[in-house]
Symmetry: C2
Subunit: 378 residues, 2 copies
Amino acid sequence: MNKVRIGIIGLGFIGCRHAVSLANNAIPGAELTAVYDRNQDKEQWVKENLGENVKLFTDEEQFFNSNMIDGVIIATPHPFHTEIAIQAFKHDLHVLVEKPAGVYTKEVRLMNEAAVASGKVFSMMFNQRLNPLFIKLRELISSGELGEITRTTWIITNWFRAQSYYDSAGWRATWAGEGGGVLINQDPHQLDLWQWVIGMMPKRVRAFCKFGKYHNIEVEDDVTAYVEYENGATGLFVTSTGEAPGTNRLEINGDLGKIVVEDGKITLWRLSVPASEFSKTFKGNSFDQPEIRKIDIPVEGDTDAHNWDGIITNWVDAIANGTELIASGEEGIKSLMLSNSMLLSTWTDNWVNLPIDEDLFHEHLQKQINNSKTQINV
Amino acid sequence: MNKVRIGIIGLGFIGCRHAVSLANNAIPGAELTAVYDRNQDKEQWVKENLGENVKLFTDEEQFFNSNMIDGVIIATPHPFHTEIAIQAFKHDLHVLVEKPAGVYTKEVRLMNEAAVASGKVFSMMFNQRLNPLFIKLRELISSGELGEITRTTWIITNWFRAQSYYDSAGWRATWAGEGGGVLINQDPHQLDLWQWVIGMMPKRVRAFCKFGKYHNIEVEDDVTAYVEYENGATGLFVTSTGEAPGTNRLEINGDLGKIVVEDGKITLWRLSVPASEFSKTFKGNSFDQPEIRKIDIPVEGDTDAHNWDGIITNWVDAIANGTELIASGEEGIKSLMLSNSMLLSTWTDNWVNLPIDEDLFHEHLQKQINNSKTQINV
């Protein structure tokens, strides 16, 4: 069987990584045939790192019409994802998009509609879904180890960035260039995992974003978001690029105990009977609670690794063999829905019901772009 | 010098404890002379536990007019605190009130006005202010070890209560009998410490209380509260009586690092330079942060103890020698202001600015009492 021929769009840090990986045959059943970048200065790098067989395009039309590719990995800045993905689907190409899927949910919906119309395979680079820590956590929860979920609390504030990071590129931390701050740039994986590990999206969100609290930037660098789920559970997502050393601690509570994920470890406190049952049947007015066992959950594999190749391999398998996707394009909308809802709740100073009003979000975002002091061309 | 003669009002669990302690001369410079309880059945207990010299009253007027006491410790259910305290001040008695100060802030203001008018010493039983853990924490913060405070996060969900606890007395977990649930019954110490250790009250609150979420009760048994401080810091207070095993973890972030208090231990992560300064001066677009040292802060003494006697001794010293109070009556309003604001924010589904509108709170509380299905006499 022929190998799936891959083209990569955007030779920034992550695009180059994927290109080198494919060029080194790290992805079974796939070969890198072409790369496309608007900048003219990549020729030398491509020759030295990808070999003679990979063709560099600097013109989008020629790239898409080259007949050299079956699928593309889109690794441009995220404001370009939608337009390029829709072009790719129009050219009957499979698509794998880097995170975040786009700037706002409407874009992701349009991408998915284009994917369906083309019949091609559309995947999202949610490589943290292959992190053994979160695979194990998801297994624990879906197997019922915690019972009904009652609360989720993710404090993910270990994203410290100095001002020079934001100053390093004009598009960084601007409404036009990124469409947001810590939520859209640093948190897409965590926002995805937050809903993926428990298999529930919130039904409404009340969030408090602080814009340029710690840095001279116009977007949010500090967020506290409170959410409510359909089953009555509540949740918190706290994130910041201003604190050092910050914290990365996920606590999930359920009727059968709690799980804490911190320092790359999973700890489970497991009740002998559900708290709800104990509450109903225990007699006496003391402060008794069900018997509790503290269990260190073993996790095999590297929990610090970024298994990008695993997602690329899965996407290639889906193209070649119809394997189920780990993170389909439709899944891209979820983490974006969460970050969009947090911004919208702040802008409207009110609750936001999910799914969000995508036009209202876009309207507000456009207002931010129009009012921005940093007018940039994207 | 004569000993300060103490009377105790309310011989429930905590009133009896204080009485026995005083009868055993655990408080230097003080002697227990009288106790007052409405119930007639305490005679035997008083004789056996407090000795022949302590007089039991079952009539309030006779107790207050006995000329046997210089000060009273009020250990009744909290809805009675205000009326009794005001009576005591009118009789020129010093007053020490159990936590919570009252049901709503207006009561505490009235108590304080009566105290000022009487010129007597008014103290609050915030005995956790003598917990070596929180003394050390407050010292660390007030000495500037964390720099400017940026965030406080207290998850205090280890208050699991079975339904039978709430069913054990008719007044429990009712609007008329307690004026609230977990906030007013379980959390007064933590709400007090939350502001005491950092020396800041929030300027506004947005809270989400769940009423009878885990139990067949009408008051709140689950709360998530978000707050903002004058200096731009944010905070979270999460509490519940429905989760087991629950969590008790206080994280405080500042410009110079963070402190986590958990499992009776204080851990400090200390930066070599303030994060704000590093952010401004670091050059380069990498993810560098200031050098961090993790320090286990030694705490001497029993962090599990309830040092009630320490507060009583301090109050007696204040009466006899003018010693400064550890927790003055005025301080009682702060933790109550916090819990009141969280309820009010939920009832109005909106922000609440501090200090709160005490009449508006009282109006809402009265509505809850009037609509209550459990009409009880208090």
